[in-house]
């Protein structure tokens, strides 16, 4: 949490009109190189959010969040899964995940093998008979934060809801634990929290968003495979990602209108 990518671009920037000296230039270059993925991710939150987050005046209705995932960039290291579990008190045992990594192996005959042992945290076993493999790739999965969320629709008491900034949350104090939302989620993104006995899921690290920080999984991704930000028309890395990639969403036929957009994803992914 110490070196969070909260960006206040004006803080250390040279004053307007001042000629940039060499030290400034080098330090800028160094910080950009070191934190490229982080910065790319961080900038999308924009000055406004950083400012809001800092002074506590966060206004949810000013935002509409989504996430982009570049399948080609994912190396399956599952740092995101670990970060998520740490950040969000997700039970450490297997079978409880806000986010997880799937490895796909497409054989020459079209057969598809998918694996996600412990969500990818412990790594993936060597693929048997690698010669017969046509393609392999990793797919990060998480709650799609649907615009038309079936989980919210079915919750009998309204304990799960969509925030003004487009994040699906569960009110732990209110959820009765009927598990209907878990059944209604087509993506397997929800689970029953074994200690709290309420439905649990990815929150886009909502507690961090409100402070102008990125979701933990986005922050730790070493390859920048996860691009978080505003979906509304603003000059952000997510907007750029969505402009320059062919995008897919998962299970579009169910009309859930996911806000997780995948680039470079194969049709086998379900």
């Amino acid at each position: 949490m110490a070196d969070t990518p909260r960006i206040e671009p004006t803080a250390e920037a040279p004053e307007t009109g001042q000629v940039m000296n060499r030290r400034h230039f080098l330090s800028d270059v160094a910080s950009v190189c070191a934190g490229t993925p982080l910065l790319l991710g961080a900038f999308q939150l924009g000055d406004a959010l950083a400012q809001e987050g800092a002074d506590g005046s966060y206004n949810a209705s000013d935002h509409w969040y989504g996430i982009g995932i570049d399948v080609q960039k994912c190396i399956g290291c599952a740092r995101c899964v670990v970060a998520c579990k740490t950040e969000n008190d997700v039970p450490s045992e297997p079978h409880f995940f806000n986010t997880w990594i799937e490895r796909y192996a497409i054989r020459g005959d079209g057969e598809v093998e998918v694996e996600s042992p412990n969500g990818g945290i412990d790594g993936f076993p060597p693929i048997e008979d690698p010669a017969s493999v046509r393609r392999t790739f990793f797919v990060p999965k998480l709650c799609n934060q649907c615009e038309n969320p079936p989980c919210v629709q079915v919750c009998p008491v309204g304990a799960t809801f969509i925030t003004d900034d487009g994040v699906i949350l569960v009110d732990e104090e209110y959820c009765i634990g009927c598990r209907y939302c878990i059944q209604a989620c087509p993506y397997g993104a929800r689970y029953m929290h074994p200690e709290k006995h309420v439905a649990a899921k990815c929150t886009f690290c909502y507690h961090r968003l409100r402070r102008g920080l990125l979701p933990a999984c986005v922050e730790v991704c070493p390859t920048g495979a996860r691009i978080f930000g505003e979906l509304t028309d603003r000059p952000t890395p997510l907007a750029r990602f969505m402009r320059f990639n062919d995008l897919q969403v998962l299970k579009p036929n169910l009309n859930t209108k996911p806000k997780a957009f995948y680039a470079n994803m194969d049709y086998e992914v379900s």
């Binding site: 919750c155 059944q183 006995h197």
Partner: protein
């Protein structure tokens, strides 16, 4: 486990208790619809089962929410369904449908039907029993012909309202499953209809069993006309139910959507016994054939002439097999819908635990509870035709009425 399932799918969300819930509500709805046959559709033959069917429906309705409650992560918060229902949620309507059915339909109908008898029982009993019946009449002791006529017509109207309500109660349970688009095994517009007809089948079969057993235990002769009629309706309901199930099945096979492979694999590997053997063969086909042959309602004397004693036995066997079949239907829907991954790439397993709040022991307990409640209800409000109190106070009645 077989193939790939999403990591969060390892734990089955809805267990044996949730299998029990639609089974119980189905029995409620079915028993009530049987009762309505006599009341609204004037099927006089089934009159001996009328009150028994109503009490059965009540006993099972009282128990129906218990498995749900036991299953909740936070049972103490369950009242929120009443307080702040999410109007978009199918499940949120549960409280209202349930309350409507219990308060407006069943209790009222039973009360109107028994009011005269309760007044008479109150008059003829002593001590605590007298007070009990008096309290049950709610102080309404008017037995004038006009009052009795009102009871009758009120009961009839409540039954008229009750039929769509019974449809609502169980069709709604079907909708809870059928409206989950994420789950191809559940998501079907036929689900509420299939639930409804299987409910009618199960309700008639249950009342048939209860009628035969209770009459035998009381050493009274069984009314064969009634039993034959019950069997006849059971046959009709079974035909409709089976046709709908078959339609659903064929439709799925013919459409062959992306889920067809994993669903076929599931039926072969996970549901073979419960679906093919128990539900289809034992619960439907064999009873259908048996009933078709022996029921005198379908052909005068039946295709096979059978002595009444043998028929009684066959009906009883059929009804019990049907109960097993209907329970299997609920199992196949609830558990079946969770045995395959929503990734459509793998199957998981469900192991029933023996003890614990969602275990087998609890389920058996909850299955027995309605019979205990029914026993108590029958003790208080005997449903037998020969238990209707004689109106000896008729002579004294005018004096009361004139007050």
């Amino acid at each position: 486990m077989q193939g790939y399932i999403y990591p969060n799918e390892f734990e089955l969300q809805w267990s044996l208790l949730i299998v029990l819930y639609p089974y119980l509500t189905g029995l409620v709805a079915g028993a009530f619809i049987l009762a309505s046959l006599e009341r609204v559709f004037n099927v006089k033959e089934v009159q001996p089962t009328y009150r028994l069917a109503l009490l059965t429906a009540l006993a099972f309705l009282i128990v129906a929410p218990l498995p749900l409650l036991a299953h909740l992560g936070h049972p103490l918060r369950s009242y929120e369904i009443f307080m702040t229902p999410n109007r978009q949620s199918a499940m949120a309507m549960f409280g209202f449908v349930y309350a409507w059915y219990l308060m407006v339909v069943l209790l009222l109908e039973i009360w109107f039907d028994y009011r005269r008898d309760m007044v008479l029982w109150a008059r003829q009993s002593r001590g605590l029993k007298r007070w009990l019946y008096y309290v049950l009449t709610l102080g309404s002791t008017d037995l004038s012909p006009r009052a009795l006529k009102f009871d009758d017509s009120a009961g009839r109207w409540i039954t008229v309202i009750g039929i769509p309500s019974a449809f609502l109660l169980h069709g709604y349970v079907g909708f809870i499953f059928g409206s989950i688009k994420a789950n191809p095994w559940w998501s079907s517009v036929l689900m509420p209809v299939v639930f409804l007809f299987s409910a009618i089948v199960s309700g008639i079969a249950l009342v048939l069993v209860l009628y035969v057993l209770s009459t035998m235990l009381r050493w009274r002769p069984i009314d064969m006309a009634c039993l034959d009629k019950l069997a006849q309706f059971l046959f009709y309901a079974l035909v409709v139910d089976f046709s709908l199930e078959a339609l659903d099945f064929i439709h799925r096979l013919y459409e062959a959507e992306e889920s067809i492979e994993i669903l076929s694999l599931m039926i072969e590997n996970r549901l073979f016994i419960s679906l093919i053997v128990l539900q289809v063969l034992m619960g439907t086909v064999i009873p259908l054939i048996l009933l078709a042959f022996v029921s005198p309602g379908l052909r005068r004397g039946g295709f096979l002439r059978t002595p009444p004693e043998l028929r009684q036995l066959l009906y009883l066997v059929c009804a019990i097999m049907i109960q097993v079949g209907i329970f299997s239907i609920r199992w196949n829907v609830v558990i079946g819908g969770q045995l395959f991954s929503k990734s459509l790439r793998g199957l998981t397993v469900y192991k029933v635990e023996l003890f614990g709040i969602e275990g087998l022991a609890m389920t058996i307990g909850l299955l027995c509870l309605p019979f205990v409640i029914l026993w108590v209800l029958v003790k208080i409000l005997p449903p037998w035709p020969d238990a209707v109190p004689q109106d000896e106070a008729e002579a004294a009645e005018p004096a009361l009425v004139t007050q």
